[in-house]
């Protein structure tokens, strides 16, 4: 694990998301109404829709292209749709959002 301070939680809109670019592709950082932060793949497994542009409700997001709904805890598609998005470790400490860069495909700092 190599926790990296990415941003302040307030940089992410409430019930919204921001994108970070990683060696694994775009990762979406979601912030729910409860001020939890989730890090998941930004790419919908259905047709590649940008999940960070979706509507966030509860701990779920709805893909803007075809309304697939994903649970941000597990990455599982909900309802009749089948699919899963990658989820990544994330911590919120003192209003800062920290990501594990190792899990995001960066070699740990020497």
């Amino acid at each position: 694990m190599n926790w990296l301070d990415i941003a302040a939680i307030d940089d992410i809109p409430l019930r919204g998301a921001r994108v970070i670019k990683t060696p694994l592709g775009c990762v979406a950082l979601f912030r729910t109404a409860m001020a939890e932060v989730f890090a998941v793949s930004d790419r919908c497994p259905h047709k590649g829709g940008p999940l960070s542009e979706g509507i966030v409700h509860g701990q779920r997001v709805t893909c803007p292209l075809h309304n697939w709904v994903f649970d941000l805890n597990t990455g599982q598609a909900q309802g009749a749709d089948e699919g899963q998005i990658a989820t990544y470790p994330v911590r919120v400490e003192g209003g800062r959002v920290l990501l594990d860069t190792v899990a995001l495909g960066k070699k740990s700092a020497a």
Binding site: I6, A7, K21, L29, A33, G48, G58, R60
Partner: protein
Amino acid sequence: MKQKLVVIGAGMASGRVLEHLTDDAPEAFDITLFNAEPRGNYNRLMLSPVLSGEKTYQDIITHDDAWYAARGVTCRFGESVVSIDRKNKQVIGQNGAVAYDKLVIATGSAPFIIPVPGKDLPGVVTYRDLDDTDAMVAAAAGGGSAVVIGGGLLGLEAAAGLAMRGMKVTVLHLMGHLMERQLDEAAGYLLRRDLEGRGITIKTQAATKAILGEDRVEAVLLESGETLAADLVVMAVGIRPETRVATDAALEVARGVEVNAQMQTSDPDVYAVGECVELDGLLFGLVAPLYEQARVVANGLLGKPDVFVAKELATKLKVTGCDLFSAGDFAEGEGREDIVFRDPSRGIYKRLVIEGDRLIGAVMYGNTADGNWFFGLIKDGTEIDEMRDTLIFGPAFQGGDSLDPLSAVAALPPEAEICGCNGVCKGKIVEAIAGGATDLGAVRAQTKASGSCGTCTGLVEQLLQVTLGDDFQMPTAQPICGCTDLTHEDVRRLIKSQELKSQAAVWQELGWTTPNGCHVCRPALNFYLLADWPLEYLDDPQSRFVNERKHANIQKDGTFSVMPRMWGGMTTPDELRAIADAADKYKVPTVHVTGGQRIDLLGVKGEDLPAIWADLNRAGMVSGHAYSKGLRTVKTCVGTDHCRFATQDSTGLGIKLEKHLWGSWTPHKVKLGVSGCPRNCAEATCKDIGVVCVDSGYQIGVAGAAGMDLKETERLTEAKSEDEAIALITAFMQLYRENAKYLDRPYKWVAKVGLDWVKERVVDDLESRAALVDRFEISQSIYRKDPWAEHVQNRAQIYAPLADLTLEAAE
């Protein structure tokens, strides 16, 4: 002379006693009511929806101040009873004594607190009354973790409510499966699976050793050595009758206050009712027997002979989404046989326990529609030999009846109990319907059926249908989404009438079942609120579909399209040059001329949007709102400027309309057309609003369509001047904004309300027209502006990635 009656405790049982007394003999007693809680009688069965946020305290009040005043009840709320002085026949409260001729003890029950270290720490709560519920709601507001000790009815309702409030919840249960007193293991498993599916962690055979924390609760330590972090601990392991005042008064008390079948204690002038009593070794916790007891107490006080008989009980658990039922005795035993039905894919489990030729117990999970029928068989001791083979399939399969769910209700005998809470049988409801109660509300008012916990509402509606036949219309309106039972129309009406001015207010006051809606209801609510309260409500971008949040249309590859406004379809060489430059600069792969007389730049990267907008803004162009549920384009022909057939300046009117209406949000997109003559080159007669110019003025048509449906406009009216045409069209827009269902184009809305209804408000009533125009203008004072310029200035950073980890660190 009036007798003096004192009642200790304002719960549901004593509340029912007071109802009977003041209905039957309003002049018989001077009544004083003590309650330690600082409030009167409310429906405690409904505390779980209050906890989960589906209802508020106001919704569950049974008797309000006006009720007590009207019935002449002296209320001493928030005052504990210190003692009962039986020798001098008075009750001593904290603020003084009251004499009595008759006394009713209704002190209810107290939660059982397990005697572990840390039980008194702040953050450890019980779940009995509104104060407990409020304490949990307050704790849940901070998020965090909750541990619920006890996996019975109360504990699970607490857990479900806290989980809906967003807490991470763990339930600790001492026994091997949940609700072991009401459910067998299989049903307990299904319940566990459902609850786990909602993110609640369940630990069975888990004994609590201690509650840990310095100055407030921090964790729970289990006998197994495991510790669970906790910001809140809810003790819901059980209840015991609250008997302190009775014991102190030297009344006979065992586990509860002992009573005879007339509900009298060992002192015949002192009655007891509710959860505090014990009769023949039995305690009572469910509401149905308490209401029976209340009737017996009231009759006893009025000198009418009556007897309380304990009856078989059925349990229905009300945790939203969990459908379970149990009745009778379902333990395994010698001479007992089981009939079991399972459908794992649908999560259905049914088990019947038979002894001899009688049904003695039933457990059901997932589909409990036949519960009352089985319960009737158990209560009545019906011989079931003949239908044994098909018994598990329920009443619909007996006697060759069809599968119609109504036939199950029709087949019930008149004495079958429909409403368990209030003990209302089918015959009584049918009688009320025959007497003129032809809808749910009337039946509820006359019989109390479905008035307490509400789980029999569907049955009562089916009875209405069976009894009234075609005269009864089952409510069929579609709710907005799974978050609510209300329709779009209901919600629009309630937002206006209850003056709900935020989404949180709508969710709370209208009982949304989800914490903050879903992708279906949120955009609709956001529109309704900004249309009805333009000055008070703040538009919520996070409740908008991506296109309206980013002011660009998302394409299938995640890129966006950019379309500047061309007022009335007019443009200039300078604008065209700026568009061409932007297309080059941002490597736009596709440039398309649209049907709305504009130019679309397709394939723009999301992070380039603010820059391309800034370039277009510099050339004097603004957003074309080609992505919005709002005013799109006003298509025109060139009119009298050039055309030899034109009758009016159609281009000029089109530009005026577009400059007036742009930026406004509507239930669905709105497209206009203005044609200079009936040759109709601007195709105005298939637009949402279309103007066809004639020599004498302007024919205004509305409610056309040229999309999924194809429909010609209908004539609203004819205007004499441009100004009148603009006022009429503005008023129509505002009426549509204020009344239509979200995602109904004008033609769908007009089909629902009727063109005459629209004409009355927009054309005929000049005052109404002016008011609509005024309200539109108030809204436009907020929304008539270029969102591109605003985003370039204030929100450009959100279009860029928050961080780029693909770059090597500089150091």
